[in-house]
């Protein structure tokens, strides 16, 4: 939970931003609600501004997947039926689509595209190490997300793509994924690693690396690795060209980044780092969303004064209220409740004081800052997503039906 007195979003600036962009890449540390915010933004744009909007998500929570109608697993985009909008009391101006990123399916597709021929493709796909790499190579996951984004953008079937990014060990990995992929293939190391095997093990014994590796890992594993890398190298040209194109798309004027964070210490610090990293790489940070922010009233000095006065006068107030019309509860219970209320306010205010500085620091960017207030429960359906979207647009949350407990 976090708390800030961040200013509400400027809807006009937000609309300009999303109208000017074709790609929005959501980033932020794990657990801040990145997936939900990305989906909510996509839904809000489809509902309010029109056009064909696709939300590409990586690993949604079950209920969010259900909210988006993503029952099955796969790369296929599914349209959220207009009836779902109507059920939420909204007449959408545009169309909302959602797709889930299936890592191994995307890797397979990439291999099929870049392999020189079907036979090599099959060999790669059947290599025992391939499955392992396609599932576990974490930079690979980041790359695949960006690669899918590029492909969808090239297809040109959508006006706006909102992509949620995989929960990286390091959020910055995402930004460097395309160039790392290029480096990987371009490196002499990869060639060097495979050379002795290509030349039928000549010289191998003379190289200290192989002496050590053979002793530690065993020659079977080394052979497997070399086989794999030799196959993988056949895809080099396609991969390198493609990774460069993906990198260009990320730097394109039509692309912007959405940074999602809460105002807690650790995610907040990571968001600041992310902000600096985006600037350093000349990537456009268009929108900051502070999620799960507690009401601004908590930072109000008048309220703090009132809390202190309530606490100090709890006994008197309790007696006064007990003597009122119809009589009240026992004064000592009332006094205790008033004291608890005042103490709780002070507790939450303390969080506010600590975190409002962070909100200020984060929102000092040339872009739009939006605040999503804390709401208990979870987003269970499209209506819930649209409510989150509305708060990104700076509208006050309506009490009542927004979330399920």
């Amino acid at each position: 939970m976090s708390l800030a007195s961040a200013s509400p979003a400027d809807p006009a600036a937000l609309e300009q931003l999303v109208a000017a962009k074709e790609v929005i890449v959501a980033c932020g540390s794990g657990g801040v609600g990145k997936t939900t915010v990305a989906a909510a933004l996509g839904a809000a744009v489809a509902a309010r501004l029109g056009g064909r909007v696709l939300v590409l998500t990586v690993d949604p929570a079950k209920r969010l997947a259900d909210a988006l109608g993503l029952g099955g697993i796969g790369n296929e985009a599914t349209r959220i039926p207009p009836a779902a909008f109507e059920a939420a009391g909204v007449k959408p101006k545009g169309e909302l689509y959602a797709a889930m990123l299936d890592m191994s399916e995307s890797w397979d597709a990439l291999v099929r595209r870049h392999a020189p021929d079907d036979r090599t493709a099959r060999q790669i796909l059947n290599n025992p190490l391939y499955k392992n790499i396609s599932r576990r190579f974490s930079q690979g996951q980041d790359y695949i997300a960006m690669e899918r984004l590029y492909e969808l953008h090239e297809e040109g079937s959508y006006d706006l793509l909102v992509v949620d990014t995989p929960p990286s060990r390091n959020a910055l990995d995402l930004l460097d994924a395309p160039s790392r992929m290029q480096d990987f293939f371009s490196s002499r190391l990869l060639q060097w690693l495979t050379v002795p095997y290509r030349s039928r093990l000549i010289n191998m014994a003379s190289r200290p690396f192989y002496q050590v590796a053979d002793r530690v890992l065993g020659s079977q594993l080394l052979q497997d690795l070399a086989d794999f890398f030799i196959l993988f190298q056949t895809m080099r040209e396609g991969f390198v060209a493609r990774a460069a194109a993906v990198d260009r798309l990320l730097h394109d004027l039509r692309t912007t980044f959405l940074l999602v964070t809460t105002l807690e210490a650790v995610p907040g610090r990571e968001a600041l780092e992310m902000k600096a990293a985006l600037a350093e790489r000349r990537l456009h940070l268009g929108l900051l969303v502070c999620n799960r922010v507690l009401p601004a009233a908590l930072t109000d000095p008048d309220s703090q004064e009132a809390a202190e006065a309530l606490s100090a006068g709890a006994g008197d107030l309790a007696r006064l209220l007990a003597s009122g019309a119809g009589g009240g509860p026992e004064p000592d219970v009332t006094a205790r409740v008033i004291e608890e209320v005042a103490a709780s306010f002070s507790n939450f205010r303390q969080v506010a004081t600590r975190e409002s500085e962070l909100a200020r620091e984060l929102s000092s960017l040339h872009g739009v800052t939006a605040t999503v207030p804390y709401q208990p429960g979870h987003v269970a359906d499209l209506a819930g997503l649209l409510q989150v979207g509305a708060t990104i647009w700076g509208e006050q949350p309506k009490p009542g039906r927004r979330r399920k407990a």
Binding site: G31, R136, R169, Q211, D214, V216, S303, A309, N347, G377
Partner: protein
Amino acid sequence: MTDLLSRQLLFVTGKGGVGKTTVAAALGLLAAEQGKRTLVCEVEPKGDLSAAYECGPTPFKGREVSERLTAMSMDTEASLREYLRLIARVPVVGRIGPVATAFDFVATAAPGIREILTVGKLCYEVRERHYDLVVVDASATGQVIGQLAAPSGINELVRVGLVRSQTEWMLEILADPARTGAVIVTTPEEMPVSEAVDLAGRLGRETAVNLACVVANRVLPELFGNREEEVFEKLAGRSQAALMAEQIGASQRAVSSVFGAARLAVTIRRDGAGHLERLRAGIGEEVPLLYLPYLFGRAYGLRAIRQVAERLGEEL
């Protein structure tokens, strides 16, 4: 629960952002205060452990934080070096540069290599009795299973070689509940609880490591008892609020926001209580569940770690 700190190797894990590092750092501090020579190791060297102890960089070779307490960051490359030197007795230590660079790619491709070096280093410290307790600020949910399952998994991949021959003693340490345990940290929220329950199941199915306990972090205090809540509802009403505002000379709006804040606190607490029930039911009756309070004050740095350690000491 008294036996948690009498184990020798604790893997603290959970979803990102729930306070893994805080709990690991606090467990380390507590153990050191109880007289144990303690090592706390951050597996993903992001600097969180150094920030928690406010002690400056925590290198692979370790940094003494306070009496009996050492902090280190995992570095699989350094671990490989140490392994080659101490166990494989490979004579090329001086010229290991290319090995280290190539290692990164090899480790990416070969399952369990990086993991075995991480877990291996930790088990090694336990086996050599360099410390009484090794607390691991382990990877987030997704990766920790891979790490803990690595010693058994590697047998399938590596048919010969030193790595394979080294897995047996590691497994012996990992599978012994008297020596090794996992601590899952979570918060009373939807996703962290779901992941904690899922992780508890996977630990049992896919690894030999015993689940020592689950820690629910950032639990809000119960604000009111039953009768008090009734009174609160009455007080929060418009007429009573107006009366109180007049009495203390504040605006009614200010009094309302004070009561509004309390209502929010109650709502958050209630929401969290539901998730905690789900947690309790999901991890099974036999697993101890510890509660740590939400820290309204500075929830970061050494002061916070001390508070958490104190509280953990009471809970244990």
